[in-house]
Symmetry: C2
Subunit: 558 residues, 2 copies
């Protein structure tokens, strides 16, 4: 559910969309951004190793050599990440490729979500699913094929969506009488069904949600952020009064906001969209806007008060307590796989991905370290029992006990994958009954603590505590980054300056839609939202000099 304007951003990369329609070479396109020199942190990672870095233990020399060669190859092929400061977009694509989050599909603009990327999506689903159910929503499933005539029923909806529809025209070998739309969103088919289920006020509120794929024929695409097909949840509700619908729309944007802050450590700014940016078919759109590492805004979730726009178009009515027929008041709200892109671009650094512990598929990786064969058993057994201790207490932990890679390689690999905590266990650690623990978010020696006791209750408490600390630290860091890049402006000149410096501009606004479009044309920035949190006091519109009710937040966006 994107904004009503639906103009392709001018600033999206062409790389993803320029992949040929069908090509085995699609992943080569990702790779052409890889540099052959190791990124700074690759070295840092190796030097940060306190426990002995040692060659893998094997019996067979030939296999050994083969393995090392392969490891070398793979290292060179996979481990090079463009520095963020050099080219943020190339960095983003490198992280996605190297961390194996996603890959290009064979059809232009489509994306394969790989297991590690999908696990992040599953973590998002797990959290939201519980919240949706707690607030009385049921999951269900609507068909993805929508008769073309449905889309035409709501005037602004068809205007917003018709340019980017995928149409099925042939089914079972025959030309279809009516073209079918592959759903870009489901308000129309939902209303068609609601007319059959809603009879009286007793059938309200009707609160449903679906997890589904949707298709929008976007011209400029970017993995996770904007793809031809993406995954999302779309909530759809019907209410007896406008107040209830408004309350629901607000409740859902609140759930998204809490999720962003508490689970993904993304300090989104929640607010209302301008009329120009409101969803095609909504009366009011609420949004959460996140600042990415390149300071562009990402619309990370939206909640729409649809008013009676769809119920009037589809005749979705109920009999009220006085026996009168009334049109229902509706909402819809969505978060999509785009959110995964938001997590990558908020927290990632030159080493790669950095995942907030609460959303990380793996929170702790254990790397055992041994030099001699006789050390191996003791080290592995200690590593295994540490794993069991943590697993039992509900921590998502992985023991990387493969002997195809050196510990140093593993350190770097799992740092690149964004695992919040690493536990290192070497022979000396086994003797002293302790482990070494390194934080992903604090590089080098500063993030490393020696001699944490392996005693289960101590280890468990320490790890849990550290994970909480990292979660807070990531939110704090992102918040101060955000706040240091928002400029309060009181004139259009100041806005232009702020935007040209790549920052966000916040200022009082009561100007026209035309003025808003002018800002967009001249600066590339749009109103991201009127934040719910507003400064006190009288305000004067920085564009017109007229009184203003609210400040608006302007930024360039994805």
């Amino acid at each position: 559910m994107v904004s009503a304007l639906r103009l392709p951003s001018l600033h999206l990369t062409n790389l993803f969309s320029s992949s040929p329609c069908i090509s085995r070479r699609s992943s080569a396109i990702l790779r052409r951004h890889h540099r052959l020199r190791p990124p700074p942190t690759l070295t840092a990672g190796f030097s940060a190793q306190s426990a002995a870095s040692s060659p893998p233990e094997t019996d067979d020399k030939v296999v050994e050599i083969e393995k090392n060669r392969a490891s070398q190859d793979r290292g060179n092929r996979e481990r090079v990440i463009t520095p963020r400061s050099q080219d943020f977009n190339a960095w983003y694509l490198d992280v996605i490729s190297n961390a194996e989050l996603a890959d290009y599909g064979p059809v232009r603009g489509t994306m394969v979500i790989r297991p590690y990327g999908y696990a992040i999506w599953e973590a998002i689903q797990d959290y939201l699913n519980v919240k949706f159910k707690e607030t009385g929503h049921s999951n269900m499933y609507f068909p993805q094929f929508i008769p073309y005539s449905f889309i035409e029923k709501e005037a602004s909806h068809v205007e917003g969506f018709s340019p980017e529809l995928a149409l099925v025209t042939i089914g079972g070998g025959k030309e279809l009488e009516e073209k079918l739309v592959v759903r870009p969103t489901s308000e129309t088919i939902v209303n068609h069904m609601f007319t059959q289920w809603i009879h009286s006020y007793r059938d309200l509120p009707l609160l449903v949600n679906q997890w589904a794929n949707v298709t929008r024929w976007e011209m400029r695409t970017k993995p996770f952020v904007r793809t031809l097909e993406f995954l999302w949840q779309e909530g759809h509700t019907a209410h007896a009064t406008p107040e209830e619908a408004e309350k629901e729309a607000m409740q859902m944007i609140d759930i998204y906001t809490k999720f962003a802050y508490e689970h993904t450590a993304i300090p989104v700014i929640a607010g209302r969209k301008s009329k120009v940016e409101t969803f095609a078919g909504a009366s009011r759109t609420y949004t959460i806007e996140a600042m990415m590492g390149d300071k562009r805004a990402l619309q990370a979730g939206t909640s729409h008060n649809l008013g009676q726009n769809f119920s009037l178009a589809f005749g979705t009515q109920f009999t009220d307590e006085n026996g009168q027929r009334q049109h229902v008041w509706q909402t819809s709200w969505a978060i999509s796989t785009r959110f995964v892109g938001g997590i990558i671009m908020t927290h990632g650094d030159d080493t790669g991905l950095m995942l907030p512990p609460r959303i990380a598929p793996i929170q702790v990786v254990i790397v055992p370290i041994w030099k001699k064969a006789d050390e191996k058993t003791g080290v592995l057994s200690a590593a295994l029992s540490a794993k069991e201790v943590l697993q039992k207490s509900g921590i998502r932990v992985k023991l990387d006990d493969s002997d195809q890679r050196t510990p140093g390689w593993k350190f770097n690999f799992w740092e690149m994958k964004g695992i919040p905590l690493r536990i290192e266990i070497g022979p000396r650690d086994v003797s002293s009954g302790s482990v070494v623990i390194s934080r992903r978010d604090v590089p080098g020696k500063q993030g490393k603590v020696f001699g944490i006791s392996m005693e289960p209750s101590i280890l468990e408490a320490y790890v849990k505590d550290k994970l909480d600390e990292i979660q807070s630290a990531l939110l704090e860091r992102a918040t101060s980054f955000r706040d240091s890049n928002i400029v309060d402006v009181s004139s259009y000149e100041e806005l232009k300056e702020a935007i040209s410096m790549g920052k966000w501009a916040r200022g009082p606004w009561s100007a026209s839609d035309a003025d808003e479009l002018k800002v967009k044309e001249e600066t590339g920035a749009t109103i991201r939202c009127f934040p719910f949190e507003q400064p006190q006091g009288n305000k004067t519109c920085f564009m017109t000099g007229n009184p203003a009710q609210e400040v608006a937040l302007f930024a360039k966006s994805y």
Copy 2:
């Protein structure tokens, strides 16, 4: 993933597919099967009421009357189910409609899965998802649009699927250069991606799964059993050796079999498909076959050993330990929303749905009963604390405390919805500190037990015990139904007789594909499988008189 033949069954109802392409009246079509007389159990339900049936408690007489009228209306409109014996198909559609499991979508052959039906699907997902991960599989997501040329690469695959493809020919307002297939299954796109991810033997086995929607342009459809679009999981794996692939295919059919028996109380027969019925593109297809209440067979899940069919077509290769390039060995396996239809048609009776406790979204419903206002508080508070006790111990429980319906209405409603256990609490029960518990699977007084103590530990233990008992009883009942309807045959005449009586026939078979097709033409029955469990001793093919290795199971199927 259906059989290679993919002939539409001659015996499917026309009702679902005859719904007009786009029509608000689609649900009226479901309803026209409803009879106006109450089903026998509706009366039985009322008379079985031991605790006092009493009018709802309200303050407002007018609202009261309105509510009763509405309740009456709804009762008449929704609660009539065609007896199974009279018309099994009409019964099936009535149950789906009345229990609000699904509804027709606006496009012919599509289905809306309503919250209660979707909750059953979620229970299926929850169980299988854990099993898949335990056995090393990761979830991921492949795009649903597949270039048409991909489908053509594997000869038998294109033959099996091309007649029923939905094709996207227009995207973003423009005619596409290459038509896109809306996935009917993903082997082709999976292989396209596997070629990019698999390099050496160290990348194997590659074990992934996706939960997704798929589209097959079926001409004769039936809710859950066969719809244009359906939901499923599809597992896809690649292995270094044929033995590993075979082991994987067997492992997954075993997981499906255990799931069917232990969770859904469906005594499926697991076995191997005949060559004729093997999946389009597979070397071997394993299946679980379930006997529905009308004795038709339902293919409830399949697991395919794909051999090297797709890896040869797509060039999916790896470098083995000796440095040689080899094609991978693959499997795929799926269970779909069709399984929900299998649960309905295995356990349902003339009262409606009957759900096995382990798969039931609601396992226990609590119905409070009061006559006078001063009884209400005590009854409701006892009901609430019973609910909390059960909820705390992990039982899925619903308290139906609405005062818009009589207890009798509620009894019938929840019986129709298939809730395994009902707890009734009236004023006398409150005084005696006990409750009345009724089983869904044992109608009338026989299934009702009085005076179960409300003491938490006793109540919890009793309910858990009863739920286990019901789970076993349903499996036992279905198993004896199945076994009493399978006839061992030793001649084609015997087979014809068994099939004409609506039964399944089991007999030694080593005849030709042509003979198999002849049986189908002459009797309507197909080989459902060669069961894994085979009788001992020498066998003689009942068709040819030649020696036979195995017995085959023949039946008419959905």
